[in-house]
Amino acid sequence: MEEEESWISSYCNVMGHEYFAEVSEDFIEDDFNLTGLGAVVPRYKEALEMILDVEPEDDSESPGSASESLSDNPNAPAYRRSRDHARTALDYSLIEKSAELLYGLIHQRFITSRQGIQVMYEKYLANHFGFCPRVNCQSARVLPCGYSDTPGNDTVKLFCPSCCDIYVPPHSRFQAVDGAYFGTTFPTLFLMTFPELDISGTGRKDVTASSNLNSSGGRKGANNNTLPPINGVPANNIAPGLGKGKRYEMRIYGFRVNERARSGPRMGWLRDKPQDLEELNEMAQLEAEAAMDSGEEAAEEDEDEEEEEEEEEDQEMTYPDGGPGRRRTAKGAAASAVATASTSEVGNGGDSVR
């Protein structure tokens, strides 16, 4: 038998699929990781077989000339080549569509798993996702993400941790890639997993050889400075592309345009950041006080924080100020998460982690 490129690597090699990680076969073969997908993907079993390059078991020997010519074409990419001569061309394209959907949904879960996030980390360092187009981000690396976890809603976007904003990929070939295949969780989880990674554009050049990286994947000694972490994030990794000196100021003949001018600045807040990041901590304190007084809203906020930290523990991520006395089992976290209204997908997200 000739050595054929697997469906997965062939799929990831297609132009426009540069952001995809190759999901490992053992991840796909673990049924737990596929929980619930059977109900979402049509022709699920056949699609899964196609992804894993498995010969279908039930061979109803109906000769399909179209599919034969397809499979005999040596120029066709492996993932378009069918080894199943019984399928008709129409059938084949339906299953192929399903396989792409299924792969995308598995991919969404894979890249938030311990194994997958590591693969994405390598791709991140290899500049596979590109850079922020914003001038003041100084070519900070971006991360692919979806604006929705449900397929069919929107195409893949790029999240820049340096300015905390999302951008349209620079090439139109990415406009055919569903954002749900990357999901809403990945960029955040990525940054939580590698908290010491220097995400600013200026730090990019320094992160080259893996020998310079510490155990959690960050650059050795990157954050050994005196800045204490704010809200669980190393202070110099809170939107390093924002704030004083990193905001564009409109000027005419060198003079700043006044905000009272009709065409004056109105969006400065979007790229602003307190000079003293402790202000952000103080706000959290104020909110806690407000929560004590009244308001469901504030209480909900507080709960969000708790959940977040639990998720961190779930991932066994080390946080400098992880907050003492918050240890609960993953099951407990999931249960309380479900109890929180308006978060229908939390349970699902949790599945993918284990």
Binding site: V40, P170, L189, R266, E279
Partner: protein, 255 residues
């Protein structure tokens, strides 16, 4: 000689892989703005170029100034070897750029650039929440040889790098730091409504605290500005920011 000149021009056109390769026009400015990578430039009127007042101070900045100007205005008639010719070509491109920065903030130049803006000639903002708003070219310095051209989005009021590398070699000083802002002063009707829409990163459905705290701080700054402006009778037009709190996403997956 005319033949010599034509050869050089043809070669130039080939170099730049211009669309007008077969029946190229003999006008230097037509060729210049049609060259690949020169999409952001508009054509400077002949009258503007021939008024010496508009070129004040540029002699010192441009080598072979007079020959370069002759080339731009299609009256070049100088028999020289290819090396000199090449130098003059280079000077002409530089001179055109420097004059361009002045021209596009004149009434006529603003009109031309506005037309290009309306046709999305400068591309669209890559920021998702700007919803493909058209961009305008801008320099981050008015001094040549400092920084390449950037793109300004009037919706988010930020500057971005052009997508294509062929624009990365265009000097930002050929557009200047003031141009977009003058354009919106002259054409206030084109000032877009600002948007409050923004991205809130989530992890398994939950907002992340560190970023959320920053977002709240920023929104507080925004509200402060709006109040400050309201006190002097200025109402800031902002688009709706109804962010669906409990996002309905992922419902198909809930079991």
């Amino acid at each position: 000689m005319a033949a010599n000149q034509t050869d050089a021009l043809t070669r130039k056109v080939d170099d730049y892989n211009s669309e007008t390769d077969s029946d190229y026009t003999s006008y230097w400015r037509d060729w210049f703005v049609a060259t690949r990578g020169h999409e952001y430039f508009c054509e400077i009127d002949e009258e503007y170029l021939t008024d010496r007042f508009n070129l004040t101070g540029l002699q010192a900045e441009v080598q072979y100034y007079q020959y370069a100007l002759d080339l731009i205005t299609d009256v070049f008639d100088f028999d020289c070897d290819d090396d000199i010719r090449e130098q003059i070509e280079k000077s002409a491109r530089h001179l055109y750029g420097l004059v361009h920065a002045r021209y596009i903030i004149t009434t006529r130049g603003l009109q031309k650039m506005l037309e290009k803006y309306k046709k999305f000639d400068f591309g669209r903002c890559p920021r998702v929440f700007c919803r493909a708003h058209p961009l305008l070219p801008i320099g981050l310095s008015d001094l040549p040889h400092t920084k390449s051209v950037k793109l300004y989005c009037a919706k988010c009021e930020d500057v971005y790098s052009p997508k294509s590398s062929r624009h990365a070699s265009i000097d930002g000083a050929y557009f200047g730091t003031s141009f977009p802002h003058i354009l919106f002063q002259v054409y206030p009707a084109f000032i877009p409504a600002k948007s409050n829409e923004r991205y809130s990163p989530r992890c398994f459905g939950f907002k992340t605290h560190a970023v959320a705290a920053l977002a709240r701080w920023q929104e507080q700054k925004r509200d402060e500005q709006d109040r400050r402006l309201a006190q002097v009778g200025i109402e800031v037009k902002r688009e709706d920011d109804d962010e669906p709190e409990g996002s309905s996403e992922g419902e198909e997956f809930s079991r």
